[in-house]
């Protein structure tokens, strides 16, 4: 094809501030999120050093409280959520065959809201009293002015509100793209699996995130003027508002990576997604349930309908089971290539299962009465979010890095990264299941030597160091790959979906031409049609001879 190519000049600083190309916004979001990931990871290393011995006393109680508050807040509000949304901002317009995201300038505004939220939250470290230290949940009354008087707490509230608003805005642009910017032939039941997961993610964001923004506003009014939560039942009202956001957000940090795993599993086994329709239905069921399970975080308050929330929470096992069935069903009958993305995808399936099954236990109130707020819960959500979501995220990163940069990541360093990270994650988080079971409470800055938890905590600390090493290997891999620039070509894996139909990286307008869309895997259709035509041609040629 001979399209007149207009050379696109690099816009330099102005481009870094104001470029509205969705690919550029997504790359900047992911880069900023990765910086926050490193920041949150450093906090985790300090936490793990403090807990390595019974009474280390590396930091005081107030500094320790700020550490776990900022670690959790950074990883959730500033790393996993924005990373999940950024993946959608980059890939969804490509996967639906659009030239541009819906509302590009709005999307850019979302990015800057997120960045300013992160900066405001972390600038608490520059104040005399330190940053917010009321936990990532900031329960009232602990977070009100008598109990958290520092300005750092206000910075935390504004930071959370801004970052969450930014992610909400970006997610709305992704949702608008899916609704209104699909290429001809791209019906809802032909969306790529990843786009399906982004669709339900954005629906959850649209329902849940405004509630947190409002809750943060109310918390600030409570701190300044009072009269909001200082009533009978006020602290419970705050928790209801918070968890109405706080549970759907777990799935916001999870489904895009399930989608990434689904893409990796299909492409790297050369097979269409098995059970596409049940997969889509299970995502919708999950989304519907996601807004009905929030109070399983509140079983021990005695102020919620425990049975209802135990019922809905246990019911989640059904759609989750469908997703496992479909992903393993895709692998069965395929031709599985154990490249780095596939390794991360397989580890995701195994490790997330530990997070999911411990979640079924926690969803039973009489069991929850024992292990609530212990390290068992800490292990549960780190298995879900680190050993699950983040492994799914890396599956996607190794899968799409060649599309985004035009260069392949190194396989050998990738596999080393995978094995070291797997070792680190399990070394860090499995011992927490055990010491939590033995009654070690979360958010404590020391524990008595007589408790006998030192060995388990030492293993966790060693695991944290191993994770840090694995992250270093990943950074090395990225730097070497960008220096050596091993060209990836438009489609290094034999992709199925539209993003592989354009160059790597894609041009500003994404596509010069689109293949016809007749299934969720248009590129696989095209290859199969070509193979069929070639076979017919040779058969015809053979009979003629």
């Amino acid at each position: 094809m001979s399209t007149a190519t207009v050379p696109v000049r690099s816009l330099g600083l102005i481009g870094a501030i104001g470029a509205t190309d969705h690919k550029s916004i997504a790359k900047r979001t992911a880069l900023v999120a990765f910086v926050f990931f490193i920041g949150g990871g450093v906090l985790a290393l300090v936490i793990r050093t403090q807990l390595a011995t019974p009474n280390t006393g590396l930091v005081g109680a107030d500094a320790y409280d700020a550490l776990f508050t900022m670690h959790g807040s950074t990883m959730i509000y500033l790393f996993l959520v924005p990373t999940a949304i950024a993946m959608g901002v980059y890939l969804v317009p490509l996967q639906v065959g659009a030239a541009e995201i819906a509302g590009p300038r709005l999307c850019l505004a979302g990015f800057w809201l997120y960045v300013s939220g992160g900066l405001v939250m972390w600038s608490g470290y520059l104040t005399d009293d330190g940053p917010g230290a009321a936990g990532w949940t900031a329960f009232d009354p602990l977070s009100d002015s008598p109990h958290s008087p520092g300005i750092g707490m206000d910075f935390w509230i504004f930071g959370v509100a801004l970052a969450t608003l930014g992610c909400l805005v970006m997610a709305c642009c992704v949702l608008g793209t899916i609704v209104a910017r699909r290429a001809p032939g791209m019906t809802l039941l032909r969306l790529a699996p990843f786009t399906w997961t982004m669709l339900v993610t954005c629906l959850m964001v649209a329902v849940a995130f405004p509630v947190l923004v409002v809750a943060m506003g109310l918390l600030w009014v409570q701190r300044e003027f009072g009269g909001i939560f200082d009533t009978t039942g006020g602290p419970i009202a705050y928790q209801n508002l918070f968890w109405f956001y706080g549970h759907p957000v777990v799935y916001v940090m999870f489904f895009p990576f399930v989608g990434a795993v689904a893409e990796v599993v299909t492409v790297h086994s050369g097979r269409r997604l098995f059970g596409y329709r049940p997969f889509a239905i299970s995502l919708l069921a999950f989304t519907a349930l996601s807004t009905s399970v929030w109070a399983h975080h509140m079983f021990t308050t005695g102020q919620v309908a425990n049975r209802y929330f135990a019922l809905t929470s246990t019911a989640l096992a059904v759609p989750a089971g469908i997703e496992y069935f479909d992903l393993i069903g895709t692998l069965a009958g395929g031709s599985i290539r154990l490249r780095t993305p596939m390794l991360f995808a397989l580890a995701f399936l195994v490790q997330f299962l530990i997070g999911g099954l411990t979640g079924v236990l926690l969803g039973s109130p009489p069991i929850n009465y024992d292990v609530h707020n212990t390290y068992f819960v800490v292990a549960h959500f780190h298995y879900a979010l680190f050993a699950g979501s983040l492994f799914g995220c890396f599956a996607g990163v190794y899968h799409w890095f060649p599309k985004v940069t035009g260069a392949l990541l190194g396989e050998r360093l990738g596999k080393l990264h995978f094995w070291v990270m797997t070792l680190g994650a399990n070394l860090a988080f499995f011992p927490m299941l055990v010491d939590g079971w033995e009654g070690m409470r979360r958010r404590i800055d020391s524990y008595p030597a007589s408790a006998g938890w030192q060995t388990l905590n030492d293993l966790s600390t060693a695991g944290a160091v191993v994770i840090a090493v694995s992250t270093g290997i990943f950074v090395l891999n990225v730097v070497r790959s960008l220096r050596d620039r091993r060209p990836a070509g438009p489609d290094p894996w034999g992709g199925h979906t539209l993003e592989w139909a354009t160059s790597s990286p894609p041009p500003r307008h994404n596509f010069d031409a689109l293949p016809p869309v007749r299934s969720p895997a248009p590129l696989l259709d095209r290859r199969e049609a070509a193979a069929l035509a070639a076979a017919q041609h040779s058969a015809a040629g053979g009979s003629a001879a």
């Binding site: 059904v318 089971g321 707020n373």
Partner: protein, 213 residues
């Protein structure tokens, strides 16, 4: 008389084997699939992309397991959450930054702790004790690992629950288990489980609070 320890362990005895079993089945299936369908030159990829009947059957099995778990959870929770009409003893437990106090209304005893040490909680063994739990400031939680039980202490709200301490002679710790600020780690109380006679003797030795609350 409902022992939380016993109820917790019985329920776990059902949940834990199911969870471990599901984990092993999934991992074994996944492992088999990955080995069996590893890429080989010339391997033909299956074109089958759906198995509705098998999947429906699987969903029914999953829903059956989930229903079973919900039913036994409901049954256990009914017993654990039930309040005895006439408990042998009532104790008003109150959390505040960062210590515990225990008031025995019928006996007029007020345990508020001395000095820096933890507050002591004396209870008779093998009796149903009702706790009326609240907080004076932020949210705390009354957590006794030995009893496999905890409840949130919330300002302006009283949470009531029954506990039974099965064995006399036990000395164990209770903790605050809702993060409540810089004193959270050390917010502990010490529990002494006495025989009913020893408990009566302890009661008679205590000074009466001047004004009943």
């Amino acid at each position: 008389m409902v022992e939380t320890r016993h109820e917790f362990r019985a329920l776990l005895g059902v949940y834990a084997p199911i969870a471990v079993g599901v984990f092993l089945i999934v991992v074994a299936t996944l492992g088999f699939v990955v080995v069996r369908f590893r890429h080989r030159p010339g391997r033909v990829v299956s074109k089958r992309s759906t198995a509705p009947r098998l999947e429906l059957l699987y969903v029914l099995v999953l829903a059956g397991i989930a229903t079973f778990l919900v039913v036994i959870t409901f049954r256990t929770e009914s017993r654990v959450d039930a309040l005895a009409a006439s408990p042998a003893l009532r104790i008003a437990a109150t959390g505040s930054d960062w210590r515990w106090s225990f008031y025995y209304p019928a006996q007029g005893i007020d345990e508020v702790g001395r000095g820096q040490g933890p507050t002591e909680l004396y209870v008779p063994a093998d009796r149903t004790i009702e706790f009326d739990l609240t907080s004076l400031d932020v949210i705390h939680a009354f957590y006794i690992p030995y009893e496999d039980y905890q409840r949130a202490a919330i300002p302006r709200i009283v949470n009531r629950f029954d506990l039974v301490f099965p064995k006399p002679g036990v000395q164990t710790s209770g903790y605050c288990n809702e993060y409540c600020g810089i004193g959270h780690t050390a917010m502990r109380f010490e529990i002494h489980v006495l025989t009913p006679t020893a408990f009566a003797a302890w009661v008679s030795r205590q000074p009466r609070a001047r004004t009943a609350r």
